[in-house]
Amino acid sequence: MIPLQISPFQYVANGVVFSSIIVLAAIGLSLVYSIADFANFAHGDLMTVGAFSALFSVGFFRPMLGDAGVFGLPLWFFLALAFGMGAAAVISVVTNRVVYRPVKDSGSIGLLISSIGVALVYRALVFLSFGTEPERYGVPRQGPVPWVRETLGIAVTPRNLVVVALTVVLVTALHLTLTRTTLGRKMRATADNADLARVSGIRTSEVIFAMWLIGGALAAAGGVFLGLEELVRPRMGFDILLIVFAAVILGGIGSVYGAMLGGLVIGMVHELVPLFDQLGVPLVSTPYAEAVAFVIMVVILLVRPSGIAGDSG
């Protein structure tokens, strides 16, 4: 038995962080599925747009606020995050108006193909504006939080904690919106049965507007966190698109809560791959982490295509 250098719990911790990112992206994708009824292939690149918008805003927030920080992260970072979320929300809504709405009648396949075009445009604009080199937000490197290391034996940095905490906040906010507000009720009604909702007097254009706004903002948050944890690269969103789709399919298309669950599971599995690698499990090695997500998705499609929370038949 080879002694493990890294505690398995470390991988679990990594998994929780990564899952946060996937969950945020999966929620947006799932909302589009349930309300606009198509597979939005531009969602990954929307995350990229959000991440880069945030990066852009660092340029003026940082000089303005200096190094004042909270929870171990500089204040300007949080403002950049908010900026990124706002920018992506706006871009998302505008894209819907300009691209998706005019072709609504061509069905979900026409919309799917259009979204591919949108994805390429998003990515191209990012390349053209920021170049191809990966960037960082410039949040100073931090060591692991000492008391966590001592008590649980795992290394988590303040940024890890902030990512997870903010994700919980955002997800809770979404949950409350969906269950406690009128808008949320309208969104759920439209997701269940759009025709019925319209006939009952719900203005679906309002719901759709809200959906793109929320989906865009959450995608951007996921993108910023991904950029924080790794690098801010133009291909970052597209590279995890497959994983996000896998999460949504696992959770069941049409179920936002399913998407959250799916995101958690897929995120954990993705980060546990190096553990299997270390344990010597054949064929499961780090460069193939995406492939593992892919295989999981294929297995779901074979066994229970409706996912965990979706309905069958």
Binding site: F38, A39, F41, V99, P102, V103, S106, S108, I109, G110, L112, I113, S114, I116, G117, V118, A119, L120, V121, Y122, R123, A124, L125, F127, L128, T132, F238, L241, L242, F245, A246, I249, P287, Y288, E290, A291, A293, F294, M297, V298, L301, L302, P305
Partner: protein, 374 residues
């Protein structure tokens, strides 16, 4: 001679739009010939471009079978192409990791077998389900194939690529570039004729029904899964053949072309050309090459640099924008399919209608598709 003119009239110039398109193509051909004769355009360069267009045309024909005939959304065109290219390269290049140096025929055979196998593997979980599952799964497959080729260096040489791939049929008394161009034209002719036969038939008809409304096809007793699988495998095999051909054209391959952008070039070719139309696929391929080479030309002469941008993202922007515009303004494409899918031999002499189902068989009639005012 009248047989030729009637073929031309029936196949190429059925209405005003088609006439314009083929006239434009004719003009470009004339310009190219003049260019070669006057030395402005190098003959070898031109032949290489023709061969490249041919390869793209084959890829488009393959995707057309999947998307155009059957409505299957396949985002792993580049992967199947890559499978074909790597089968050919690995088996025929003397210095490939396999080092077998076999005759190209084996490369093509391997390309066909492996691509068919992979297509079935991907089809099994996805073809019984909704179309977007295939879209997602095929995107995933593309990335997995690329990852395998990049990482398993001992089998594929990874990012170094494989060089020294032999030319095809170099024993012919023509130059290599002329031979290769002729071979691809031959391949296209074979594939095109094959597809025409299977398309204008009960088989093609069932596929078109499945594309429009799968439940209806099921209610009429058709095993839609089997038909879709056939279309998917057929298309994938054609794509792999295109890839194998490319290996012998470029004489060098590496994983850098296995990116999604390649796949979306072919998508543009098919939807711009006219979803479901074989002629459209070929014309669309020509247009896509024109875009690629056009932008490369502009880059070489420094025009793009003056705009302060790079070539690759500009192409990406162009392709993305084009997809959006086509879906918005001309979903039918340039040459939408017009054939009635009826077995030709049965149609003749039974008084059944002609090619166009629009009721107005005469030219210039208010065609409901492909017309000017849309």
């Amino acid at each position: 001679m009248s047989a030729v003119t009637s073929w031309v009239r029936e196949t190429l110039v059925r209405d005003a739009t088609e006439r314009r398109i083929f006239a434009a193509l004719g003009l470009i051909t004339v310009l190219l010939v003049v260019g070669v004769l006057t030395g402005v355009v190098g003959l070898r360069f031109l032949l290489f471009q023709i061969a490249l267009v041919g390869m793209y045309a084959l890829l488009s024909l393959g995707l057309n079978v999947q998307w155009g005939y059957a409505g299957l959304i396949n985002f792993s065109v580049a992967a199947f192409w890559g499978i074909g290219a790597y089968c050919a390269a690995l088996l025929t290049a003397p210095n490939s990791p396999l080092g077998l140096g076999l005759h190209p025929v084996f490369g093509f055979l391997a390309a066909i077998v492996v691509s068919a196998f992979v297509a079935v593997l991907i089809g099994i979980p996805t073809l019984r389900l909704r179309e977007d599952y295939l879209a997602i799964a095929s995107l995933g497959l593309a990335e997995v194939i690329r990852a395998i080729i990049l990482n398993e260096r001992q089998w594929t040489a990874g990012s170094s690529g494989i060089s020294g791939i032999p030319n095809l049929m170099s024993w012919l008394p023509l130059t290599d570039s002329a031979t290769t161009a002729a071979i691809v034209v031959f391949l296209i002719a074979v594939v095109y004729l094959f597809l025409r036969r299977v398309h204008r038939s009960p088989w093609g008809r069932v596929l078109r029904t499945i594309r429009s409304d799968e439940n209806l096809a099921k209610a009429l007793g058709k095993n839609t899964y089997r038909f879709k699988m056939q279309a998917f495998v057929l298309g994938s095999v054609i794509m792999a053949v295109a890839g194998a051909f490319y290996a012998h054209l470029n004489l060098y391959i590496d994983p850098s072309d296995l990116v999604p952008l390649t796949t979306f070039y072919i998508w543009i070719a098919v939807i711009l050309g006219g979803t479901g139309s074989n002629r459209g696929a070929v014309v669309g391929a020509a247009v896509v090459i024109a875009i690629r080479e056009g932008t490369r030309f502009l880059n070489d002469i420094g025009f793009i640099q003056t705009l302060g941008v790079d070539l690759a993202p500009l192409r990406l922007l162009f392709v993305g924008g084009l997809i959006i515009l086509i879906m918005r303004f001309r979903q039918d494409g340039l040459l939408p399919p017009k054939d009635e899918l009826i077995w030709p031999a049965a149609r003749d002499g039974s008084g059944a209608g002609g090619a166009s189902p629009s009721g107005a068989a005469s030219d210039g009639g208010a065609s409901s598709n492909g017309g000017d005012d849309r």
